[in-house]
C-alpha cells in the first residue's frame, strides 16, 4: 500500500474559495453570486479583490440560479454559492430549465454536502444531490476529495464550457493530494494499485478509503484504490480496467446509495462487465444532528465499513 501522509487538515470549501479567487485573477469574466452564505462558502478573498464582480442575492436561491443563467449571456462565467441542499433540491427546476436545458455556462458550487455538515441536522444534510444533478442531461458532476483537489477542480471548471455541479464540504480533513495537481474533468486518479479488490471513492470518503487500504494490507488484502472525483462523465475506462484485474468492487460515497456514484458504477458494470459490488453509502435515510465523526460512524461511512465491505465482496468472487 502506497503511503499517504498529511501535515495539515483543511476544509474542501476553503479549497473552493482559494480556487475561485485564483480563477477570478486569471479570467475577468469569472463572476460570483451568493445567497447569504459568503463566509460559509469562503468567498471573501474573491469579493475583496473583485467587488464589482460579486453579486449578493440574499436568501433567494431560485433567483440566484436564474440570474446566473442570464449573466452567461454576454460572456460571464458565473459561480453560484450556497449549501448543497439549497443548490440542488431547492432550485431543481430552475437549474433544469434555465441552466441545463438552456446549456448555460453556470458553475453551481455547493458546500456543506452530506452528513459532515453535522449539528444542523437533516434539513441541511443533503444525501440526494449527486443523483439529482447527474440525471440532468449535459450536467458535469464533481465531488473532490481534499483542499488541493477542490482548488484544482474549481480552476478547471472555470475553463470548461458548460454547466457544472461542484460538491464540497464543511469539515476539516487531511490534505493529501498534490498542491500543483492538474485536474482533468472525467479522469480518475489512481490512488493505489492493487490486485484483490477495487475500492472506488469520492469526496470525503477517499481519505477513509486510504485508511481502509492500510488496514486491508495488514490483513493481507491488496486493495486498488481509485478516486472518482468526476461522477459524470464517469471514467469508464479506468473502472473497467481495474475491475478486470481485481474482479470485485466497493464504492464509497457520502450520499444515498440510491442515485449516487455506486449506482453509476453498477450501471457501467452490469452492461460491460458484471461484477460483485458492495456499497458504502447511506441506506435510503435522512441524517440527524451530531458531530461529523459521530454521524459518519453511525451511518456506516467509516474506514471499518469499507474494510468489511471489501472482505465481503472478495468472498462473493466466483
Amino acid at each position: 500500500m502506497k503511503k499517504y501522509t498529511y501535515t495539515e487538515k483543511k476544509d474542501t470549501r476553503s479549497g473552493f474559495g482559494a480556487g475561485l479567487h485564483e480563477a477570478g485573477k486569471k479570467n475577468e469574466n469569472v463572476v460570483a453570486l451568493c445567497a447569504d452564505l459568503v463566509g460559509s462558502l469562503k468567498m471573501d478573498a474573491f469579493i475583496k479583490d473583485f467587488p464589482e464582480r460579486f453579486t449578493q442575492v440574499g436568501i433567494a436561491e431560485a433567483n440566484m440560479i436564474g440570474i446566473a443563467a442570464g449573466m452567461t449571456i454576454g460572456g460571464k462565467i458565473p459561480f453560484t454559492g450556497t449549501f448543497a441542499n439549497f443548490s440542488t433540491g431547492r432550485v431543481y427546476d430552475q437549474i433544469r430549465q434555465s441552466v441545463a436545458y438552456s446549456n448555460k455556462n453556470v458553475k453551481i458550487c455547493a458546500s456543506h454536502a452530506g452528513l459532515t455538515l453535522g449539528e444542523d441536522g437533516a434539513t441541511h444534510q443533503i444525501l440526494e444531490d449527486i443523483g439529482l444533478m447527474k440525471m440532468l442531461p449535459g450536467m458535469v458532476v464533481i465531488n473532490p476529495c481534499d483542499y488541493n483537489q477542490t482548488k484544482a477542480a474549481t480552476l478547471a471548471i472555470a475553463e470548461y464550457e458548460g454547466p457544472v455541479y461542484l460538491r464540497f464540504g464543511r469539515p476539516v480533513i487531511p490534505v493529501f493530494t498534490d498542491p500543483d495537481q492538474k485536474f482533468e474533468i472525467g479522469k480518475a486518479w489512481m490512488v493505489n494499485e492493487g490486485t484483490d479488490v477495487t475500492i472506488i471513492a469520492t469526496g470525503h470518503m477517499v481519505w477513509k478509503a486510504i485508511e481502509a487500504g492500510e488496514k486491508l494490507a495488514e490483513l493481507g488484502i491488496d486493495a486498488e484504490i481509485i478516486n472518482i472525483h468526476t461522477i459524470k462523465p464517469l471514467d469508464d475506462e479506468a473502472i473497467l480496467k481495474s475491475v478486470k484485474k481485481t474482479g470485485c468492487v466497493v464504492t464509497c460515497e457520502e450520499h444515498n446509495k440510491f442515485g449516487g456514484l455506486g449506482e453509476s458504477v453498477a450501471r457501467l458494470l452490469t452492461t460491460e462487465l458484471p461484477t460483485p459490488q458492495e456499497f458504502v453509502a447511506t441506506n435510503d435515510t435522512f441524517g440527524e444532528s451530531g458531530t461529523p465523526d459521530q454521524l459518519m460512524s453511525k451511518y456506516g461511512l467509516d474506514a471499518v465499513n469499507i474494510v468489511e465491505a471489501a472482505q465481503k465482496v472478495i468472498g462473493r468472487k466466483k
Binding site: V57, G66, A69, G70, I73, G74, Q97, Y101, S102
Partner: protein
C-alpha cells in the same frame, strides 16, 4: 416611427393568422395569450427593440427580450419569422417532431432569437436581471425587455426577482405584464387574486406604467415612454391590459381558449376576421 400604425396593425393581423393556423396545424398550443400579445410583439420587434437578425447568443450592443410565459410561443415564433430571424415556412413545423419550434421556446434546437428556455413559469425575470447585470459589467447600455403572464406572477420566484431589481437599481430593465386576468383554471380573481399589481410593484420600488396592450398606438407610445424612464435608478414595469384571444371574437373574454386548438370550422371563422396582409406561410 419606422412604420405607420396601419402598417404595424397589418403585421399584427398576419401574426394572428399565423397563430391560429399554427395551433390548428398541430391541434395543440396556446392561442388565447398569443393573440392577446400580438400587438405587443409587433410593437416591440418592429418599432422598439434594437436587434440583429444575424443571431448571436451574447447579444452585445443589442436590446434583449426574454419571454417568461413561454406557452405563448406561437406569437413569438411568428414575430421572429416576420422580423427575419428564420424563414416563415418553418412555422408549419410548430410542435411537430424534429422541429426547432418546440411547444415552449428553447435554445436546445438552436432557433435564432431565443436565449433561454421558458415554459416552467416564473423564471424569466431572474434571467433578464442576470443579462442586465452582465450588460452593466460590460458597459453595454442597451435595454433588456421581458414579458410575463399575469397568472404567472403567482410563482414566488418573480417576487425574489422583483425585490432584487430595484435594490440593484437595474434601470435598463423593462418588464411587461400580459394583464388579461385569465389563467387555465379561470379568472385570476377567482383562482388566486393578484389584487393590485401596481401597488405591489411600486412597493417593491418599480416605476409602474399602464398601457392598453391591444391598441397599437398606445402600446408603441407606452414602450417608447418606458424607454424614457430608464436610467433613473428604477426598473420599469409595464402593466399592459389585454384581452385573451384578441382579434378572434369567439376566443375573447374567456379563459377557455388559453390552451385549446380550433377545429377546421373554427379556424375558418377566425381567419375570416384576420386579413392576410403579408402572405400566409
Amino acid at each position: 416611427m419606422k412604420h405607420t400604425i396601419k402598417e404595424l396593425e397589418d403585421i399584427a393581423s398576419q401574426i394572428r393568422r399565423d397563430i391560429v393556423r399554427m395551433v390548428h396545424g398541430c391541434q395543440s398550443g396556446h392561442p388565447g395569450g398569443s393573440l392577446g400579445c400580438a400587438d405587443f410583439f409587433t410593437a416591440l420587434y418592429f418599432e422598439v427593440l434594437n436587434y440583429n437578425t444575424d443571431f448571436k447568443m451574447d447579444g452585445v450592443g443589442e436590446d434583449l427580450f426574454f419571454l417568461s410565459n413561454g406557452h405563448i410561443s406561437p406569437v413569438w415564433y411568428s414575430t421572429l419569422a416576420h422580423a427575419g430571424f428564420f424563414n416563415k415556412s418553418e412555422l408549419a413545423t410548430f410542435r411537430k417532431l424534429d422541429s426547432r419550434l418546440q411547444g415552449h421556446p428553447t435554445t436546445h434546437e438552436g432557433l435564432p432569437g431565443i436565449r433561454v428556455a421558458s415554459g416552467s413559469l416564473g423564471q424569466g425575470m431572474s434571467v433578464a436581471i442576470g443579462a442586465a447585470l452582465t450588460k452593466r459589467l460590460n458597459g453595454d447600455k442597451s435595454y433588456v425587455f421581458t414579458l410575463h403572464g399575469d397568472g404567472e406572477l403567482q410563482e414566488g420566484q418573480n417576487w425574489e426577482a422583483a425585490m432584487f431589481a430595484p435594490f440593484h437599481e437595474l434601470d435598463t430593465l423593462i418588464c411587461s405584464v400580459d394583464y388579461n386576468g385569465q389563467q387555465i383554471d379561470g379568472p385570476t380573481k377567482k383562482v388566486l387574486s393578484l389584487d393590485s399589481l401596481q401597488a405591489k410593484f411600486e412597493a417593491f420600488g418599480w416605476h409602474v406604467i399602464n398601457t392598453d396592450g391591444n391598441d397599437m398606438q398606445a402600446i408603441v407610445e407606452g414602450l417608447h415612454y418606458a424607454k424614457t424612464l430608464t436610467g433613473k435608478g428604477k426598473p420599469i414595469l409595464n402593466l399592459m391590459s389585454t384581452q385573451m384571444g384578441a382579434g378572434v371574437d369567439y376566443m375573447m373574454g374567456s379563459h377557455k381558449w388559453h390552451g385549446t386548438a380550433p377545429n377546421d370550422e373554427q379556424l375558418a371563422a377566425a381567419l375570416a376576421q384576420l386579413p392576410e396582409t403579408l402572405g400566409d406561410y
